[in-house]
Amino acid sequence: MSDKPRGWLGRLRAGLGKSSNRLTDGIGGIFSERKLDATTLGDLEDLLITADLGVETAARLTEQISNRRFATDVPETEVRAALATDIAAILEPVAQSLDAMSQPAAGPQVILVVGVNGSGKTTTIGKLAQRLHEQGKSVVLAAGDTFRAAAIDQLRLWGERTGTTVIAQDIGTDPAAVAFDALEYARAEHADVLLIDTAGRLHNKADLMAELEKVIRVLRKIDTNVPHEILLVLDATIGQNAHTQVETFKDLVDVSGLVVTKLDGSARGGVIVALADRFGLPIYAIGVGEGADDLRPFTAQDFAESLLGLSN
C-alpha cells in the first residue's frame, strides 16, 4: 500500500460501498427498530446471505454473534463491528500481497492464470504486467488463450500499453506449445516474470481441463518447478458456484492462489469469506476497476469493514 493509500482505499470503498449500502441499510433497519432477538438474528443471517456469503457461513457467523450475548439494547454499530471482526478473522490468513507469491531461486517466475470465461483473466494479466513493469521487472506475456476470437489481440494491446513482449501464435494453436515457446523465450531473455494467459473454461468441461493439465505438463519438461504460481481468477459477481469452481480447479491443476475481480460492481463478493474458510487459498489481489492500476492488494479488515459499511 505504498502508493496513494487514500486513493485506492477510497476507490475500494466507493466500489464496495455501492454494494454494502443495501446491507448496511438493512442492518441499520434491523437494529434501529428492534432489539437483538431471535428474529433480528434471523434477519442478520439473511442479510449476510444476500451478500453471497452462503447459507452455511452466514449461519455460523450469526451464531457467533448470538453467542456473544450482547445486551438486547446493543447499538447496531457494535454488532456490525463485531461481525466485521469475525469476518476479518476468517480472511486474515488468506490476505496476501502479490510479493508473497513463490519466487524461483533462479530464472523467470512463471505464473499461470486460469479461470472460467469472462472472469477477467486477460485483464488481470495486463494489470499484473503493468505493476511488474513499474517495479522495473522485465515481463513476458504468453497468449495461451488461442481459442477466443481476438483474445490474442487483447493481450497484444496490453503488451503495448505496458511495454512487454507478447509471445503469441495463431488461433487454434495448442496452448501448451505457446506456453512452451514463451518459457524458452523468457529463459533465454532472462526475463523476471512470465505470465501465461489461458482460454476461459468452465470447470466441468473435462477435455478443456485436460488441456490445462497438458500446458502444465509441457512446461515441466523445461523446468519441473514451474509454474511457480497458478492463479485462479474469480469473478465477484458469481454466487455459490464459486465453490465448485475453486474445488475443481484446485483438484485438477493445483491452484495456488486467487485473484478476485469485479469488486467495483454491486456484487459484494461475500462468497470469498466462505471460500477462505473452506479452502484457505491466498488471495493475492483484487480487481476494482478496468484501469491498469486497478489491481489492488486484498486487505482483510478493509474488505470486512467495507462489506459491512463501516468504512470512514
Partner: protein
C-alpha cells in the same frame, strides 16, 4: 457440497409415514429445506421469501398422493410454482417491426454479450433467413470491436467497419444507416460491458437506446451470477428498459438461480440460453429444465417417467423378491443392463440426475460408458443359461470361450464377475442390516434411480 433437495427432504420426512394431507408442520419443515436449496442455487433472497410464502399457503392441506412421499408432494408443488414463476411458455425473439429491426445487447462485463450477439445473428440468418448486420459499440475494452469482427468473419455475418475513436452512439447511428441503405433485416448492437452501478456507462446505454429505439433489448446474464442478479436485473430494466433475458453458461454446473431472480425482478421473459462455446450453442428456454437445476434435482421428473415406461412392474417385483432372497443372478444383471440402455444409456440417465458432474468425470476416468454396458451384455449373452445362474461354474476355459464368443477379453469377464460378486455381497449385507429394498418402479428414494435400475458396480 450441495446436497440435493430430494436428499434434504428425505431426512426431513424420515420417520414420517404417508398420510392423508400435508400438515402445517410438514410444510414448514420442508420449506426450510427448500429455502436453503434455493439460496444455494443463488436465487435472490427476496425472491426466495416470496416463493416460500406462496408455496406455504398452497401446500398446507394438500393431499399426499398415493405412492408418493410427503417430501415429493412438496417438491412437486415447489416445482410447479417455479415453472410458473419462470413463465411456462417459451417466448421467441420478436422481429415484428419495420426493417432494419434494431436490437441491443446489454449486460455486465464478461457475461458473454459478444458471443451471444454472434450466436443470435447466426441463428437469425440460418433459421429465419434474415439479413443481419452486427456492430460492436464497445470502445472501452481493448480489442472488443475486433472480437466481434472475428466472430463475424467466422460466421460470414457482416460487421460494421471499425472506425477508431468513434463514440458508441455514433457507431449505433452509422450501423442503422448502413442497415437501411443496404436492406438489412436486423441490426444487432453489442454494447460495452458494464457494471450495473456505473452511471456513466448506463447513461451511454440510454443514449444508444434513445438514438436507435431498439425493438429488443436483451440482457445477457451469467447463469453463475449470485445474489446480485436482482440488482443487475433491476438496474438495467429501470434505466435502459429490457424486453428479454439471455442466460449464458448454462452448460456449466451452476444451478442458475439467477434465472428466477432476474425474471422476478424484471418481469421479462428469459428468451434464450447459451449452452456452450460453439456459435450454434444457443437454445430456446425451457422452464422445467432450469427449475430442475435450481432445485438441484436434475430432471428427476422426466427420469421417473422414463423409468416407469421402461421398468415393467411385474418384472421389477420379481427381481425385488429375488434380491431379497439373495438369488440375484447374471440373467438379472443382463436385464438391468438392458433397462439402462432403454433409458437412453448412461449418458441419458446421468444428464437427468442431480449433482453428477463429478461422477461423470470419475466415470470417464474409469472408462465406464455405454460401450462397456454393451460389452457386458454381450458377455452375459455368450454364457450358457447354467453359467448365468451359477457363475461359480465359470473357470478358465469357459472364460476363454465366453471371451471369444462376445468379442471381449478374459480380463473383462473377470471384471464383470467381480462386479457381480460385489453386488451379491452388498445385497447380503443389506439383508443382514435388515434394510428393506423399496419396490422398484414406484416411489423414488432420495432422487436416485430405482435401485434395480443402477448398472452393476454403481451401488454404493
Amino acid at each position: 457440497m450441495f446436497d440435493t433437495l430430494t436428499e434434504r427432504l428425505g431426512t426431513v420426512f424420515d420417520g414420517l409415514t404417508r398420510r392423508g394431507a400435508l400438515s402445517e408442520a410438514d410444510v414448514t419443515a420442508a420449506l426450510r429445506e427448500v429455502r436453503v436449496a434455493l439460496l444455494e442455487a443463488d436465487v435472490a433472497l427476496p425472491v426466495v421469501r416470496d416463493l416460500v410464502a406462496a408455496v406455504q399457503e398452497h401446500a398446507v392441506g394438500q393431499e399426499v398422493l398415493k405412492s408418493v412421499t410427503p417430501g415429493q408432494t412438496v417438491i412437486k408443488i415447489v416445482h410447479d410454482h417455479l415453472v410458473e414463476a419462470l413463465g411456462s411458455e417459451a417466448v421467441e425473439i420478436d422481429l415484428n417491426a419495420s426493417t432494419p429491426v434494431p436490437m441491443m445487447v446489454v449486460g455486465l462485463q464478461g457475461s458473454g454479450k459478444t458471443t451471444t450477439t454472434a450466436k443470435l445473428a447466426k441463428q437469425l440468418v440460418e433459421k429465419q433467413g434474415k439479413k443481419v448486420l452486427m456492430a460492436s459499440l464497445d470502445v472501452r475494452r481493448p480489442a472488443a470491436q475486433e472480437q466481434l469482427r472475428v466472430l463475424g468473419d467466422q460466421t460470414l455475418i457482416p460487421t460494421l467497419d471499425i472506425k477508431l475513436g468513434e463514440a458508441p452512439v455514433d457507431i449505433a447511428r452509422r450501423a442503422m444507416d448502413r442497415g437501411r441503405r443496404e436492406g438489412y433485416d436486423v441490426v444487432l448492437l453489442d454494447t460495452a460491458g458494464r457494471l450495473a452501478v456505473d452511471e456513466e456507462m448506463m447513461n451511454e446505454a440510454v443514449a444508444i437506446r434513445d438514438a436507435v429505439k431498439p425493438h429488443e433489448t436483451l440482457l445477457v446474464a451469467d447463469a453463475m451470477t449470485g445474489q446480485d442478479a436482482v440488482n443487475t436485473g433491476h438496474a438495467f430494466n429501470e434505466k435502459v428498459g429490457l424486453t428479454g433475458i439471455v442466460l449464458t453458461r448454462i452448460d456449466g454446473d451452476a444451478r442458475g438461480g439467477a434465472a428466477l431472480s432476474m425474471r422476478a425482478v424484471t418481469g421479462c421473459p428469459i428468451k434464450l440460453l447459451g449452452t456452450g462455446e460453439k456459435l450454434d450453442a444457443l437454445e430456446t428456454f425451457h422452464p422445467d429444465r432450469v427449475v430442475g437445476r435450481i432445485l438441484g434435482m436434475g430432471d428427476v421428473v422426466g427420469l421417473v417417467e422414463r423409468a416407469q415406461d421402461v421398468v415393467e412392474e411385474e418384472k421389477a417385483r420379481k427381481v425385488a423378491a429375488k434380491l431379497q432372497k439373495g438369488e440375484f443372478d447374471l440373467e438379472d444383471m443382463a436385464d438391468q443392463l438392458r433397462q439402462v440402455k432403454k433409458m437412453g444409456g448412461l449418458g441419458g440417465i446421468m444428464s437427468m440426475l442431480p449433482g453428477v458432474g463429478k461422477m461423470q468425470k470419475q466415470m470417464a476416468q474409469h472408462s465406464i460408458d455405454d460401450g462397456m454396458i454393451r460389452r457386458q451384455e454381450a458377455i452375459i449373452l455368450s454364457m450358457t443359461p447354467g453359467e448365468r445362474h451359477r457363475p461359480a461354474l465359470i473357470k478358465a476355459s469357459r472364460k476363454r470361450r465366453i471371451a471369444a464368443g462376445s468379442g471381449t477379453s478374459v480380463q473383462e469377464i473377470n471384471k464383470l464377475l467381480k462386479q457381480f460378486q460385489q453386488m451379491q455381497t452388498m445385497m447380503k449385507k443389506m439383508k443382514k442390516m435388515g434394510g428393506k429394498m423399496p419396490p422398484m418402479g414406484g416411489g423414488m428414494p432420495g432422487g436416485g434411480l430405482p435401485p434395480g435400475a443402477l448398472p452393476p458396480g454403481f451401488g454404493r
